[in-house]
Symmetry: C2
Subunit: 336 residues, 2 copies
DNA sequence: TCGTAGCATGGGAGCGCTTCCACAGCAACG
DNA sequence: CGTTGCTGTGGAAGCGCTCCCATGCTACGA
């Protein structure tokens, strides 16, 4: 089952058979028909290696993901599922690497196995030197989430600032003024942006930023607990957690303090992935659509590897507020 | 930077250069030295497509995973991370497919892109026809978890039966006799095996199986809640949940009923992955080591695609009981 | 009628590598 | 001294495909 056999069986040359199989227009209907039928009848499958060698492209995209996002939080799963779905729809295959070994080693592995047409790099953080190596490497690269320092990179980005504003706007709309926040690790650009959005929204509503209502977390549930315990001392009526996991942690701290959600404290999260367990009450959150991100990032990569003008591409994906029952108006009377 | 350039630079033929780069013994030390130095100096990276075309193998393994295991539970993440780590250590790359589209389409995609040397298929369940298509397809295949019906397949399997016995033995050892179980979906062979182990362990201890202490779940937290609510009517002093997620659900039902863990009801789970949030009290569970599974499955695949005797390979990986604080002796007095 | 443009097609080179085969050189043997 | 066997090496054939170029053909206008 090679192209030659298909060609022979259908009485055309290999060239023509190849054209048909690659969707070239310049073939007579008759020839096209015969080739397609022949290919079908012998169950022909093109040899990808040969095609790749001859054409110089493989239809394989690489996806690089820090392992911790796969094993320690739900983000990686969502990214993988979004990217794989989008890639397959576009006739691309996905090769996956996790940066679990020494970063250097992974980068070398990726480059050494340079069969991919391009690279998708998820969640770059400050201090991830390997990301820069990849960016400056030989193949086109797209990041998911903006890079902390570099601006000359193709990026598909979430509107973190806008999302945080949505969250705070919602709380202000309910009547809250003492709105706390639990931030993520500021080395991560998305965490920084969510904080930035929080600050901007407060300012837009004429609410002064109170440093005591800002607590740093690290995106983990337990860091959310700790942060919330600290915040509760300053009696916020609402809290915006920079991700859902910390919001879950906040739930716990609020419960331990004997307070109710949302009557005593409203909680808003960020991300909106299913995290395998539904908190009680259901969490109001800002949802980012990683399926859409997957689509965009694959499109951008294909575009970047298709053309040779090395213009930097940049797409921002919107988010939406999902109102559930963890938010409500603040208590009117003085807190108990 | 082609092999020819390396050869020319080091003054040997392409054949010799190829031998050196592929670790062939039959090369003089002198030639090896010169080739390696030359390759290094021009930063030579072999063209995988060419190598693959010429040699007939690609050093790429395919990993096929039902999407739901990635987005709805932590299993998929663990499998991916285990397989990728093991594969990369063995100089193999991983191409990932999720069965999110119509299964048929995915299978066709996989076969059409037949560049992989072999296939790893995770978590086959009853009714997954696509698994059989893959098994009977053209490339060597290894399953993670036994197939519900087929026995003529390479498999790396978890000792589910043994794990369930460990759990029940532990509870019996603490003095429990009224031990309930929450099963998984019996269409999944692992769920069936865990139930089978439960039954066997009870029998081994001379405890009669009480049908009222068996409730069916579906591996989800909420199914665990529902199952536990039903079970509590029959006053078990302990429960073995067929996975950790349902154990978390059981926690909730027990709490709602106003009972304490482990004083009133002991709980044992199964899996032992980090599921992004630690339950309180920490869950005693049976841990399966998916990193080890990854190693084995890649080894088996390499072995299966290396030799041409089509003997079916089969490996079972052990599990271990992790004792934490969700289990304790039953209350001596009558329940409140 | 001829020249020319446009189209479908086939021929063939070549992508970069592996691997079979042949061969040269050398040591050891009878 | 010729034969044998071994080792290191190079030549060359391909792996299956893409794609450039040349070719033959039809249709058109001059």
């Amino acid at each position: 089952m090679t192209l030659a056999q298909v060609a022979e069986l259908s009485g055309v040359s290999r060239s023509t058979a190849s054209r048909v199989l690659n969707g070239d227009e310049r073939v007579s209907d008759d020839a096209r028909d015969r080739v397609l039928r022949a290919a079908d009848s012998i169950g022909y499958r093109p040899n990808r290696a040969a095609r790749s060698l001859a054409s110089g492209r493989s239809s394989i995209v690489g996806l690089v993901l820090p392992t911790e996002h796969l094993t320690a939080d739900p983000y990686g799963s969502q990214v993988i599922s979004g990217v794989v779905a989008a890639a397959n729809e576009r006739d691309q295959q996905v090769m996956l690497w996790l940066t679990h070994q020494g970063p250097d080693e992974t980068v070398q592995t990726i480059f050494r196995n340079g069969i991919v047409d391009g690279l998708i790099v998820a969640a770059p953080a400050l201090g991830d030197d390997w990301v820069e190596e990849l960016i400056d490497g030989p193949m086109p690269t797209v990041l998911i989430g903006r890079h902390p320092t570099r601006r000359d990179v193709n990026v598909v980005d979430i509107d973190d600032v806008g999302g945080a504003r949505l969250a705070v706007d919602h709380l202000v709309g309910l009547g809250h003024r003492r709105i706390a926040t639990i931030t993520g690790n500021m080395a991560r650009p998305d965490a920084a942006a969510r904080y930035q959005g929080y600050v901007a929204a407060l300012e837009a509503h004429g609410i002064a930023l109170d440093e005591r209502l800002v607590a740093a977390g690290t995106y983990t549930p337990s860091s959310g607990v700790a942060a919330m315990v600290r915040l509760l001392k300053h009696r916020p009526t609402a809290v915006f957690a920079a991700n859902d996991q910390m919001a879950h942690g906040a739930y716990e701290a609020i419960e331990i303090a004997g307070l109710r959600i949302p009557e005593d404290v409203s909680v808003v999260g960020f991300d909106g992935f299913s995290s395998f367990s539904e908190p009680d009450p259901p969490l109001t959150t800002v949802r980012q659509d990683l399926a859409a991100i997957g689509e965009h990032v694959v499109d951008v990569l294909l575009q970047a590897s298709g053309s040779d003008d090395h213009e930097t591409l940049r797409v921002t994906v919107g988010v939406e507020l999902v109102e559930r029952s963890s938010t409500g108006p603040p208590a009117t009377g003085p807190p108990p």
